[in-house]
Structures are given as C-alpha cells and as structure tokens.
C-alpha cells in the first residue's frame, strides 16, 4: 500500500520514502481537497468483485452491550450460563439462547462470530470502536462504516443516503469525511420525520425561500469568488433540504403505507418499526441504515432484561431477514447485528452482568456473506484472573477485521488510503477481510 498505496500493506522500511514521494505528488495534484481522486485511483489496485458485492448495509445496533450468553452464545446449563436456556438452531450442533427462537430457525442464513474481542470496555469508546473499526484517537475522528460506504459508493437519491433510526447518544458519524456523511437521525417511524415539512403542505415556505434567496445574493456581493468554496456546502445543504422537502422519496419513511400483515411481522415496537423503515429505505436506494435497540446495559437483573430486549430483536431481525428475501434485496443487502461489547461470564451480586469486551458475539448475513456459519468459541469455564482474558476465546476476531470484511463484501477496497485533514494518510480499515466470512 505504500508504493502506490496499493501494493503492500505494511508501512515500514523502504516504502516510507515512497509514501513521502506519493504524498508530495498527491498534494500538488490535488491542492486543496484532501480526499484526493489520485489516491483513490492509485488505491483501486486491489479491486473487489462488484458483481458479487452487496450494495447496501443495515446495522442493527444493540446499544449498551448485549449479553452473548443470553443471545448467540448461551452456554446453557453451565455456571456462566446462569438462567439461560438454549434452543436448537437450523445449523446442526449449534444453539442460540431461547430468547431468539425465530432467529434460531433462520440461523442457516446467517454467520455468527462468537469470538469478537476488543480492548474497549467503556460504552462511548467501545461504541466508537465498533462503529468505526478504529479505537478512539484524539487527533482524528474516524468515520462510521455507513459513512465510509456512502463516501465510496455514489447514489442518486433525494433523501439522505446514511440514516440512523432511533438514534441514541452516539449515532454514526462522518468523522474526517465531513459532517455531510453523518447519519440522518430519526426517531420511532411511527412519528413524522423531525423538522421535515412538505413544501406543498405550507405555501408560505415558498415566499420565505424566495426572500431568503434575495438576502443570500446581497450577502454574496464582494465575497462571491473567494467564498464559493466555503459557501457551497451551506447552499448545498439548503438545496438538499428543500429538495428533500419536496421529494416523493420521503414516503419511504412512512411505514403506515405497509400492509398491516407486514407491520405485524416486525412487531409493535420502535425497533420493529425501525427495521421495517430500514427495509423501505433500502428498497428506495438508501445506502446505509442503522437501527438502534438500546437497553442492554444490564448491571442488575440481567437475565430478565436481556431476554426482554432479545425478544424485540428476534422479531424485528427475523422479519427484516424474511422481507429482504421476499423483496429480492437479500443478495444486495448486508445486515449486521452488533453491540459495543458483551457481558461478563460471571454474574454479579445484583444478578447483573458487567462489561466484557473479551469474547462477544456478532451476527451478520446477506450479500456475499457466508451462510450457516458459527465462527469461534468462548470458554465455558473462563479464567477470569488472568491479565490477557482473550485466552478464553478460540479463534478471536478483532473489530478492524470485521470492518474490513464488511467493506470488502460491499465492494469497497478496505485498504484504500485517504489523505486525512491532519495530513496523515489512513486506510479505510486497518484490518483484513476474514476469509471464512466470504461465501464460496
């Protein structure tokens, strides 16, 4: 990757000089824009196969830290399993927790990684890590995976291409790609979109906009040429907002247009409705949708709380999976279900489980992702007093590798380097695609 930013993944030795030479050339060629086309073209050396790639991504984000033991990695009947019961899945020899009966039936459509490991045990930092594939770095804000995908793949839709439904404290961000790649945040799809008024529903807006344009012209006098670059984003945001206010595509947010029978399958919960809205948005051409289900931070009364959330997840996720298949979108859409970390194998005195980044589960499927796979394992009798707790995990998977795999599956070159605003070239992902996830 350092000679032409494509050939070799390491950044040491002789290649550093090449990097410097390239940086110099790129900076001359690109002058102000720091995300250079030169770098993109150079880096496109390692192409992925677009025909076998997905085009859209749905992230089912479980905020708070879902327990692997009450979901995809039950260890039922063991001490660490607590009250968890297991249920057979459609993958021979593998169980899910009994909280996920529908997903257990559809497990043969999914890949489940039971050996995710990370070094972040704080909600905010771990959320950042899982959503961006990078650990927090004070000098730079990394983009979430949805932002990366939107940056790399172009679309022609009048509504935002990156959307976060039921956005919580830390929704997906554009990071160094710019705030225009931030996820557009919405609440429960049962309610109208925030701050979105149809132009045809308010005739006064047209008069106001005309007056606004008049004042904008006044302000631009004497500043127009030099400020074109800085003003453009403002004007563009205004134009896009107005375009959205008059677009038919915003109907994709309106789940009320779906049949009651379909709505019923997703469940009468904000998350279920979020999954349905995600389906409609993907159908409309939106590139990445995040749907958040919070309430997994169960430091007390873990079992009951995890089970109640898992039931909501089970219904929404499985209905989404079914509908994506029914509408012919499953091959073009990747669904990934993850939280920021898992929960401790031991149960605390409040019958809760605490944060545990040393072996947790992620489920994913769709597109070219392999089906019916369970990768890795966690120990039924973990050693908790050791410093390196990953000794309890078989075939550990690092978060950056998961990100690289997702990007790869979406036809994005994960190793592409971009020149960031801090003058430091960064790869889209610092991991490598996991070969076992690729459908063969």
């Amino acid at each position: 990757m350092c000679e032409s930013l494509t050939q070799s993944p390491d950044c040491s030795g002789m290649s550093m000089m090449n990097r410097r030479r390239w940086l110099g050339a790129a900076s001359i060629a690109a002058s102000s824009p720091w995300l250079t086309l030169v770098s993109e073209k150079l880096a496109r050396g390692e192409q992925v196969n677009p025909e076998r790639s997905a085009t859209s991504l749905i992230v089912l984000w479980l905020q708070g830290g879902p327990s692997q033991l009450e979901t995809f990695d039950p260890h039922a009947g063991k001490l660490i399993g607590g009250d968890t019961q297991a249920i057979r899945t459609s993958i021979k020899g593998f169980d899910f927790a009994s909280s996920l009966p529908r997903l257990a039936e559809r497990a043969d459509q999914l890949s489940v990684i039971r050996s995710m490991v990370s070094k972040e045990g704080d909600h905010e930092r771990a959320t950042y890590h899982l959503k961006t594939g990078w650990r927090p770095d004070p000098t730079i804000l990394h983009p979430s995976i949805g932002a990366v995908v939107c940056h790399q793949l172009s679309d022609d839709v009048e509504i935002p291409r990156h959307i976060s439904i039921l956005a919580g404290l830390w929704p997906a961000r554009g990071g160094y790609l710019g705030s225009r790649y931030d996820a557009f945040q919405t609440s429960d799809p049962r309610f109208p979109l925030p701050n979105l008024q149809r132009i045809d529903q308010d005739p006064t807006i047209l008069t106001r906009v005309k007056d606004l344009e008049y004042l904008e012209r006044q302000f631009a006098v004497g500043r127009r040429v030099a400020l074109k670059e800085t003003l453009t984003p403002h004007e563009s945001a205004t134009d896009q907002a107005l375009k959205m206010m008059s677009s038919e595509q915003i109907k994709a947010f309106e789940i009320s247009r779906e049949d009651d029978s379909v709505k019923k399958k997703f469940g009468d919960t904000p998350f279920g409705r979020g999954c349905l809205a995600a389906l409609r948005l993907i159908e409309e051409g939106v590139r990445c949708v995040e749907v958040e289900l919070s309430g997994w931070d169960t430091h007390a009364n873990n079992h009951a709380l995890q089970y109640s959330q898992a039931e909501v997840l089970d219904q929404g996720f499985s209905a989404l999976l079914d509908q994506l298949k029914e509408r012919g979108l499953w091959q073009k859409t990747i669904v990934v279900c993850a939280g920021e970390f898992g929960r401790t194998p031991n149960i605390n005195p409040l019958a809760g489980r605490d944060h545990w980044p040393h072996g947790f589960s992620v489920a994913l499927g769709g597109g070219p992702i392999r089906r019916g796979l369970v990768h890795g394992a966690t120990s039924s009798q973990p050693k908790l007093d050791v410093e390196d707790k990953t000794v309890n995990v078989e075939s550990p998977v690092e978060v950056p590798d998961l990100h690289a795999s997702l990007l790869h599956a979406l036809g994005v070159n994960h190793a592409l380097e971009l020149q960031t605003p801090i003058g430091r070239p960064l790869k889209l992902s610092q991991g490598n695609p996991l070969p076992f996830l690729r459908d063969v």
Binding site: S179, N195, L215, E216, A226, L227, A241, R424
Partner: protein, 555 residues
Amino acid sequence: MHKKLILRSVLTMLGVMIAATLAMVWFRGPVQRTQRWKQISLDASKAVEPQVRLVDSAFNRWSETEKVSLAKQADWLTVCRRLALGLVGSGMSLEEIRHLEQWPESERAVIYTEYLLSDRRWSDYFSERLTRAFVGTEMGPFLLFRRRKFREWLEEQLSQEKGMDSIATRLIESEGLWMDRPEVNFITATIPPGGARKADVVRLAGRTSRVFLGLRLDCLECHNDFVDKTYFPEGDKWKGGTQEDFHELAAFFAGATLAENALLGVREEKLDYRFKYLDAKEEVVVKPSVPFAEELLPEVGKPRERLAKWLTDSRNPAFSRAVVNRFWAIVTGKPLVDPVDDIPLNSEVPEPLQILSDDFAQNGFNIKRLLRIIASTDAFRRSSRLEGDEVTMEQQDCWAVFPITQLRPEQVAGQIIQASQLKTVDRDSVWVTQLARFGQINDFLKAYGDLGEDELSPENETIPQRLLLLNGQMVRERTRHDPVANPISRIADQASGDVGAVENCFLAVLNRRPSQDELDYFVAKLEGLRFGARQKAVSDLCWVLMNTTEFLWNH
C-alpha cells in the same frame, strides 16, 4: 368582620411584597447592566495599544509579502457583533446597540470589549471552550469524573483572572479528590473504567502535548514519525520525533494514581512506567523526559510538578503559541495556524502569532490582556468583503480581509435566543429567562449536533441542521408573533411605520441596519398590512433573517 379586615390587610401586604420582589428581580438586570456600562474604564485597552500596533504592522507585512490588498475597516456594528460572538457566544442585543449608540462611533468597539469582559458571560463561555480542550466532551469514567465541577472551577479561575500558566500548572500537578479539587478531573477523566487505579498516561501525554504545546504527538505512541510531521530542536539541528519522545513525556504521569482509599482521590506514587517499543524484544522502564528544551526542566521535584514548570516556563515557546492560537480561534472563528493544536516547532509561525505569544509570555500569560489585543487588531476589525471587487482565498489566509466562518452550534443557538429579545440575556437576567435559555440551547444542540472537542475545526452544515433551521421548533417559536416570549415582535408592532419595523428586525437579528435596497424590498412586503397579516409578515421576515448565511456565519 375584624378578622376579615386583618386577613385582607395581610394579603394586601403580601401582594405588595411579592410585586416589589418581582419588580426588583425584573429591574435588577437592567440596573446592574447600567452600572456596568457606567463603570467601564478604557485604561486597560489603552495600555495594550502599543502592542496592538506591533501586531497590526506584522499583519500588514504579511499582506505585503502575499501581495494582496487590504479590506477597509468594517463598520462598528459588524465589529461589535464579532466581539459578542467571539467573547460570549451570542449576537448583540438591541439594548446593547442602543447603549453603544450613546458613545462616539470610534470608541464603541473598545467600550463593548470592556463591557463584555466585565460580564461573567465571557468566563462562562470560555470555560466551556477550554473544558472541551482539556477533558473533552465524553461523559468519562462513572463516579470518578465530574465534568460540570471541572467547568465551574475553570470558570472561577477565568473570572478571577488567573494566568494560563497557573491554570495549566494546577491541572498537571493536581492531587486530591475530584469533587473538592475539581482540577483533578483532568487526571481522572483518563482513568479506565472497571476498577483501574492508574491514569491513562498515553491519553494524558497526548492531551498535554496538543493543548499546551500545540503539538500532535499522538502518532508517536506507536511508531517513530515517518511522514515528516514532527521535529524537535536538538542543538542547532532538528531531529525527527520518536516513540521515545512520546513515552518519556507520558512517563511524567506514571505516578498519578487513585489512592487505595478512593476518598483520598488522586495521589502521586513512585511508580515506574514500563513500555515495549516497536520492534523491541522486551519492556523497558521509561524515565520521564521532555522532547525539547531540556534545560528548562527542573531537576528536582515530583514528576508532574517538574513537567508543569517546564511547560509553563516563559522561555518555552510552544506553550504560549498553543494557547494564543486557540484563543485567536475561539474569538475569530479561525486559528492563525490550522489545525489549532498542530503548530510544528520546525516551521515558521505567522509573525502576528509570534508577537502575540511573546507578549502573552512576558505578561504573566494574562488572558484578558490577550483578548483585548486580539479584539483591537486591524485584522479583527477588517471587513470580510471588498468594495467593487471579489475577495480571494489568499486575502483571507493572511487576514487582509476578515475570513468568514460558519458559527459553532452554541453560537447559532445563542444568537437565535438573543435575536428575539430586546434586553441582553445574561447572568443578570431574571432566572426564568436564564433557565429557559439554558434549556433551549441544550435542546437545540442535541438536535443540531455538537462538534465536541473538535469545535475549532471547520465543519460543513448538514441537511438535518438546515431542516432544523427551516422547520425546527426553536426558530419557529422565536419568530412567531408573541409579545411576551418574543419582544422583538412587540417592537416591530410598535415601530414607527414599516421602515422602523424592518430596521428593528434587521438590528435585532443581523445586528445591522438594512441597505436601502433591502429596506425597499421588505417594506413593500409590509405595506398596507394590518393586525394579523402584518404580524405574519414580520414573523416571515424574522424567519428569513434567521435562515440567512449572514446570520449563521461570522463575517
């Protein structure tokens, strides 16, 4: 009968007392503000005039070198709006404009600077900006971190006019409980969750170098510099940054540890910092050391005390540059060296930054003095447009014209709230107004998006932000006709004719008078309208003004 009379008298007295109290509360703000206007002294501003001239000359030389022409001085209202945005984070109130109009035009900017610096709003505003730089916006470790306490402490330091060296020293050296020694939160913000006792020395070293040295050394945590970004002086040569430079700096914080009894807070313990360098076979004990100007590092003392003394030594050029560049960015919207915390030691800094930094170091790192100088420079007071010509980026880059920048979210919110009020919304306002302002700003920031600690990096406006301004609750409520909640609509009602109404709206929202063309355009829209229709037209005008680039940008 007798009892009824007594009861009536008591109730009347009670009523009078309540009315008197309310009146006192209501008028307390204007009275106190009037007193502050009267007490303004221009001595401090006059005292910095020679230094301002030096800085002006440096800016002029910069423009000459770039061969660009200078913009004229902006009108006093534009300059005062910049002062309000830069020093207290909101636009000017009509009340302030009317006060200033009583003074000679040439003195208004200086008077307003002094007025704002006598107002607790400036220390409140800067304490939040600096808190973001010092501890970020993360919620931090549960129980061990109290951001609000930290911010209040910082506000107190600023209002007591403590020098920046004193503030930095207390942060670096801090020991004790984070509740009664709020500066300790600088350390505890980095303690990892899950029962850890040691502060995260890597995060502390990164934070310290960025905020107090203006150096982004974080990359050196994992590897030596290979992108020619970091150099340190070594004799009369420059040496590239290494992993050792970073970790030796981090080693100063190795002893910052939570006491066994957590109620004793952070203590300094004698602990080694061990680290395994890239390609090394085993860990080594890393001794504390500084990456440059070693001669300024005291030989004795606790590690963090030594680091603080080295950092704030007036001969350490990096400290004053880093602080001055940050304050310049907060006040003007754009740093002299961008990014704000990346001022390489081996590159020449703009001459104005060097002059300001030298002055800052030679005058006890006096923050108010620095702000007065910044606010008085020609660069701060130049117009952002050229008459009969178009501004170029080169002119903006060397401050030959005032650069336009998008306002930060809290400035947008502060402006919207202030624009609909006649009186200044400040700490002397009635508590209901202050509480409402606090709640509305928080709600707005939640919806608009907060830039967090990267607030001094330019960001583009997003579609949700635009939708929030076009259709959102805050602008809608602040522009609707409501004489109680939005006094601006009352004054538009009471203005002498349509011309007065349009002028008042422009003054309150954009802090300027309309041009003749604008006046004609909008007066025509009010002409002949009465009652509800006129109120609606005024409301439309305020909405339009609040959605303009002019309102949402510093210019």
